[in-house]
Amino acid sequence: MAGYLIRRLWQMIPTLLGVVLLVFLLFKGFGGDPAEILGGQNATQAQIDAIRQQLGLNEPWWIQLAIFLREIVTFDWGKSWATNEAVSHLFATRLPATLTVMIPILVADTLLAIPVAMGVAYLRGSLTDRTIMVATTVALSISFLVYVIVGQYVFAFQLGMFPVQGWSDNLWTNLRVYVPLPALLSVLVGLAPQTRLYRTFFLDEIGHDYVRTARAKGLTERTVLLKHVLRNAMIPILTNVAVALPGIFVGSFLIEVFFSIPGLGRELWLAVNRSDYPVIQAFAIYIAVITMLVNLLTDLLYKLVDPRVVLK
């Protein structure tokens, strides 16, 4: 176990270096001149030169890469070019909002999709099953954006069931007042693909011999589905949830931008629009690190859930 952990962590290093290199080269090679972005349109040549000197842009590229690496390791990215807020502070204060929205969405999505998919799998081949499958195909073809626009208009503006958008400093208020509408819309949209996927997991299991044996023993269809099939289908379902898990740190950009939720996604969107390079670079690298660590963690959890899995 310890050996596996060390080997996995060791394997992360080249990938991480690659991420750093990719981000560095991308902004160095294709991005605009930071000094000109920082100086603004009225900056004199002397001011731009001063900024270049200050940022170390006159140094050769390997020194700049070293500066970049030092920033990553020390978590000291300096300040955002647009708001003058420390980048590390930005990251720490925006993450809670993202998690407050994304965790309820992930939980509700999974908990709802399992019974729906099991129901559809139980009715496989019937008219209901086929109707639901066609409905999900059509539902999937409409942009997420349309659901969000119409949902906000109908539920918040017309019916007044939720606030149109907003956020507070209190976790409980957020969960009770501001999260429900974005979460409801995301879950409604996420349900169609999840149902399709989970249905195939259940159908795979239903075809196995042990199901026939269980039925032959005279167990009710209910017991077969809930006790035998569900447990085995949980393994691919959990894998699927694990794959989605790193996504909750990025958040749904669209949800955060649309509902003005001050999370990481919206901050990053603002940074892209303002050419705020330090924020984008820092977010890209740290979220890559978080993604890799979460993936490792889920691999370990996987072992706990399914004893047949051998880590190597």
């Binding site: 991005g31 059509v138 950009f253 990053l268």
Partner: protein
């Protein structure tokens, strides 16, 4: 050999190739054929708008602002409810008006230009947007941009994924390791974040969107093509080709690639749908096509403020066209996959 395998009912000596067999299977699929017709109709529209035959005047403000669709009838006149203007004589302020000496000259200058009173329709077939532009023309022009972006980005991603996957799978060794490393790096960063990082450094515009989506989206195809090439590289027909003196590039592109092209084709098709959806979201976020162009995404981004006023037609036009195209394209992809790879039938 082919004579034995050939369908005895089929007349003529032409052997059934993989492609003609797949085409025959595709023709049997009724849903697939209907969706193919819909997709072809959309592609005709794209071609017509690209050539300027259709919707080339989408920027002309033909209706009154927010003109409703014809089937709803003209909007009620709001003028009656408006407050009355001020009454009484205007005060003469010419003595103290600092601009007074200029009015004469400006009036002279204005005479040099002709103003044209455009007749603006009270209703348009499917309504007008905030500026009075025809929503139907916008939606058709938007279809051109959205579909072209989706298809081009899918082509870029497929080319990248196929070439890199072929090299990694065929050669393996150090080159394979390097490409695997690149793959790991690209997949370590969540997709949407990668798109944003590229969007931060590229200028706005159609070409940029195509490049951004293509560069961020090639990894899945790479994975599949690499696996196929690893499988095929050691097969007898490839080794025989090598023994006959075929060069590495001939073996990759002339021998193996045709045998894995069905995988590539299905992936291309799958990615078109994904990229059209991504373009819509990117354009909504202001990171997509330029402001002087129209796509389904820019139409949807105008929708929230219109919806509050009850003007639903622009949202409806973009949504209906997009949903129709994407549904038809997805169903066509499913039929294509079934036709090209009968082993997969019924798995999804």
């Amino acid at each position: 050999m082919s004579a034995v395998l050939a369908d005895p009912l089929e007349a003529g000596p032409a052997p059934r190739t993989v492609w003609s067999a797949a085409a025959a299977r595709f023709r049997m699929d009724r849903v697939g054929m209907v969706s193919l017709v819909v997709v072809l109709a959309f592609l005709l529209v794209v071609l017509a708008t690209a050539l300027g035959l259709l919707a080339s005047d989408w920027q002309v403000e033909r209706g009154v602002p927010d003109a409703p669709p014809t089937f709803l009838g003209a909007a009620a006149d709001n003028q009656a409810q408006a407050l009355d203007g001020p009454h009484g004589p205007s005060a003469d302020i010419s003595a103290i008006d600092p601009l007074a000496p200029m009015y004469q000259a400006w009036a002279e200058a204005a005479k040099k230009y002709q103003t044209r009173d455009a007749v603006r329709a009270a209703t348009l077939p499917f309504g007008a947007d905030r500026l009075g532009r025809d929503v139907l023309a916008k939606a058709l022009k938007g279809a051109q941009v959205s579909i072209l972006v989706g298809v081009s980005a899918a082509v870029v991603a497929t080319l990248l994924g196929t070439v890199l996957g072929a090299l990694a799978g065929f050669f393996g060794g150090p080159m394979g390791d390097v490409l695997e490393w690149v793959y790991n790096v690209f997949t370590a960063i969540p997709g949407i974040l990668l798109i944003f990082a590229f969007a931060a450094v590229f200028p706005r515009g159609v070409t940029s969107v195509v490049l951004i989506l293509g560069l961020a989206g090639w990894t899945g195809i790479y994975r599949l093509v690499r696996a196929e090439f690893i499988k095929h590289a050691v097969r007898d027909y490839v080794r025989s080709a090598e023994a006959l003196g075929a060069s590495a590039s001939a073996r990759i592109f002339r021998h193996i690639l045709p045998n894995v092209s069905h995988v590539v084709l299905v992936q291309l098709s799958v990615h078109v749908v994904g990229f059209i959806k991504s373009e819509v979201i990117l354009s909504y976020l202001g990171l997509g096509v330029g402001v002087d162009q129209v796509s389904w995404g820019t139409m949807l981004s105008e929708a929230p403020s219109e919806l509050i006023l009850g003007h639903w037609w622009q949202l409806a036009a973009a949504t209906i066209l997009m949903a129709t195209f994407v549904t038809a394209f997805s169903l066509m992809t499913d039929a294509l996959r079934d036709a090209l790879d009968p082993k997969l039938r019924g798995l999804e």
